[in-house]
Symmetry: C2
Subunit: 273 residues, 2 copies
């Protein structure tokens, strides 16, 4: 059973996509074709989408689902009248929130992902630049300027997590790969130890690490089971020595890893509560 779902908005559509995707994930037995439709901000675009809905209905044998956050009632009206199950995600909450806050809503679209707070936005962009410049152990002398330093064996998920932390939370995130040199020396470099208050370790199950490395360098020593197990074991010893908190990233998405790191950064002593 295939079914089409559209995430629709007058602007970026990120809210409609995030919320719609979340709702659909509650119905994992249905095979959804998820279609992201940002900038449906003219009546012509709304009518073109209605035509796509008709085609989806004919193709799937069942009408599509539309998740929308629309503020323009004319455009919304065209979509609602289309051949679909239409869910407006915003409206239900705006009124009770308005009553609670004692303020009328602005009804302006595209506010959520626009640059409404330039200083906040600039911080995010600077964090991205910082993450790019401090990826993969490029500048150990910068670790002390970082909000977070992720440390782990090669291929444990450090780079994408740093980029996510920078992009979404504006954190200056650097990462340090535990190198052959570190293993020989038997410890992290001085810069990591000095910065340990904001260092977080990433680990991963040996079997999973081996699979990732094998794909990257098939048949290499680097990808051998023995080498993967040794890397992980010795990294654990080093983390323990310096009381660095460790997160196992096996089967976790970037979003899940990043949210846990953020939680740990914000409540360093309350992580276990």
């Amino acid at each position: 059973m295939k079914r089409t779902a559209y995430f629709v908005s007058e602007s970026t559509g990120i809210t409609a996509e995030t919320m719609g995707h979340s709702l659909l994930s509650q119905f994992d037995t249905v095979d959804f074709e998820q279609v992201y439709m940002p900038y449906i901000n003219t009546e012509a675009r709304a009518r073109a989408l209605c035509q796509r809905m008709d085609e989806a209905h004919a193709r799937d044998g069942v009408r599509p689902v539309v998740f929308a956050t629309m503020l323009d009632q004319e455009i919304a009206g065209i979509l609602k009248a289309g051949d679909c199950f239409y869910l407006e995600l915003f409206e239900h909450f705006v009124e009770p929130l308005s009553v609670e806050l004692g303020v009328a809503p602005s009804r302006k679209s595209g506010q959520s992902h626009a640059i409404t707070k330039p200083s906040h936005y600039t911080k995010r962009i600077e964090a991205i630049n910082f993450a790019m410049a401090n990826d993969d152990g490029m500048r150990p002398d910068n670790y002390r300027h970082a909000d977070v330093v992720l440390v782990g064996v090669s291929r444990s998920g450090k780079t994408p997590t740093c980029l996510y932390l920078a992009m979404h939370y504006g954190l200056r995130a650097a990462n340090h790969p535990i190198t052959e040199e570190d293993f020989e020396h038997g410890d992290f470099p001085k810069e990591i130890i000095d910065a340990r208050q904001h260092v977080y370790g990433l680990t991963i199950d040996a079997q999973r690490l081996q699979a990732i490395r094998e794909e990257r360098r098939p048949g290499s020593t680097y990808a051998s089971a023995e080498r993967c197990r040794r890397d992980i074991r010795e990294a654990q010893t080093m983390f323990k020595r310096h009381s660095i908190p460790v997160l196992n990233t096996t089967n976790q998405s970037i979003e899940e890893i990043a949210a846990q790191i953020l939680r740990a950064v914000k409540s360093p002593n309350g992580a276990s509560a």
Copy 2:
């Protein structure tokens, strides 16, 4: 008037944060302290949050707002009984959606941002690696393997947009800075021209470009008004010559730029519809 808002969930809390932030952006006259609270997945954590709510109420003089996507009714119950205006964002839609789909919801939390489709997740990670390896014109021979190549003068927003396109949409995004060499030569390098079917130009107002560059290299020729105007003008001439679509990024966030690029990639001939 200051007011505290919490975005709460048992898992990453990304849906609660995205939706809550969107709703608050409709009330831009209120100064919100927005607090992201992922992984409220035990009763102890819920009770700790209730205590924070009490403190927020005392500090702000008004009760906090809670935007939640909770599936565990025990934990949700603790929060609802707390001193707050509680909005559950999910529940309202699950039942009607269930009726429409003819399927019961799984009621499992954390599905939306978990790795439920490994192939889709792997594609995103590979796209991030591609974006990192193909930033800033590092590998022009790879432009033909990219889904998108962003071209623009230095500081027009190429790098963060590429990372966003990779991270969120799994697009293999490369970027090419128009260099002094390109300006002297009077055209893009061959690799850009060959890949022009998926090349998008980014431009920016000269005044804004000057401000950004001035912050980076104060007093330099690079940051001069004349140089900024020349770079933008000549870039425009090149874009026109090769019929490359151009987006003005002045005052646009990464999310807005990325959503428009995605729209253009998906409907190359329908961008104006």
